[in-house]
């Protein structure tokens, strides 16, 4: 299963969202994630992909869409650095 699919499955299972889930979809703007479950989302990413996220990385710019999360994961693995 691809990493993108893992992230999509998490969003669907945790939020019950059944609509289209494109990599660019803004999960916050669409109210799929809120101020509470965005932290759960970050915790999941951390545990699932074995990366350590810092408090200052838990921001909209990094977590608002699947593509941004993929970029964050890549950067944490040493392929660049966000923000």
């Amino acid at each position: 299963m691809s990493e993108l699919q893992i992230l999509s499955d998490y969003i669907r299972s945790e939020t019950g969202y059944e609509g289209e889930l494109s990599p660019e979809l803004d999960l916050l703007e669409k109210h799929i994630l809120d101020s509470f479950n965005i932290v759960q989302w970050a915790m999941f990413i951390q545990e699932q992909f074995k990366i350590d996220l810092e408090a200052e990385e838990l921001v909209r710019q990094n977590l608002s869409s699947l593509s941004r999360v993929m970029a964050l994961i890549d950067s944490k693995r040493g392929q660049g650095k966000p923000n």
Partner: protein, 247 residues
């Protein structure tokens, strides 16, 4: 037009939607006319932290006092903030690596509401508290802010032997309502306050149930009631609860 008229009913349900519309009509008639609809919540203070230690330690809560520079950045009016200190409320300011990101207030001996003439009386002053005006600056709302503040506030309250926190929430703040529910809050009562100029008429599902106030000195004394459930049942730690492999 019709869709706009119906949207409060769809959003809040039939009765709350009707109250919302009535309040909007009253406000249009005069700024001195209001109809407030509140839910009274009881939130258990969990034993377990909400965040892992590595993230939790990034956010620090500090008690601040009258005259602190952070107060100027808080949205509430200066006279309201002054009145909170007069009633011995505690203000905890949240700092994320020394940046002021939000705040929360607590009253340990009941709370004198500033929006309507009502004082909320705690059921057990040793083990309960009233929380109000949790605020996170917009740039931190979709980060550690909300959960981080509650995580630190829970530790602060636990260290003082507090098991439950009570609050009042406007029925129409759905985001806040949902956030409280995620923290294990349950609705223990409702109240409706009609403001007609200087007069206030209160109807509540908790004692004294009905109150009429004709002056600022006459306040409803609303007795909050502890639910029968054992406190400390809130969802604790977020970490690990949802770590599904997905493969």
């Amino acid at each position: 037009m019709l869709a706009r008229m119906l949207s409060p009913f769809e959003e809040f349900g039939p009765s709350a939607g009707a109250i919302y519309c009535a309040d909007r009509i009253l406000q249009r008639l005069s700024p001195k006319l209001r109809l407030y609809f509140y839910e009274l919540l009881e939130q258990p203070i969990p034993e377990e932290p909400l965040l892992p230690p590595r993230l939790a330690k990034c956010l620090e809560l500090r008690e601040i006092h009258a005259g602190a520079p952070e107060l100027a950045r808080m949205p509430a009016r200066p006279d309201i903030k002054a009145s909170r200190f007069r009633q011995e409320a505690i203000c905890l300011a949240a700092f994320l690596k020394d940046e002021f990101v939000g705040h929360i207030w607590f009253c340990f001996r009941g709370y004198q509401e500033d929006e309507v003439r009502c004082t909320f009386l705690l059921p057990d002053e040793k083990h309960s508290v009233f929380d109000f005006d949790l605020y996170v600056f917009p740039e931190h709302r979709l980060g550690l802010g909300f959960v981080g503040i509650w995580n630190a506030a829970n530790a602060f309250l636990r260290s003082r032997g507090v098991h439950r926190s009570y609050s009042r929430l406007t029925r129409f703040n759905l985001a806040s309502r949902q956030a409280h529910r995620r923290l294990g809050a349950r609705c223990i009562g409702r109240m409706l306050v009609l403001q007609l100029g200087k007069a206030e008429f209160t109807l509540a599902t908790l004692p004294p149930y009905v109150h009429v106030s004709l002056s600022d000195r006459d306040r409803a004394q609303l007795k909050l009631r502890a639910s029968r459930n054992v406190p400390g049942q809130a969802r604790g730690r977020l970490v690990g609860q949802h770590a599904r492999s997905g493969n």
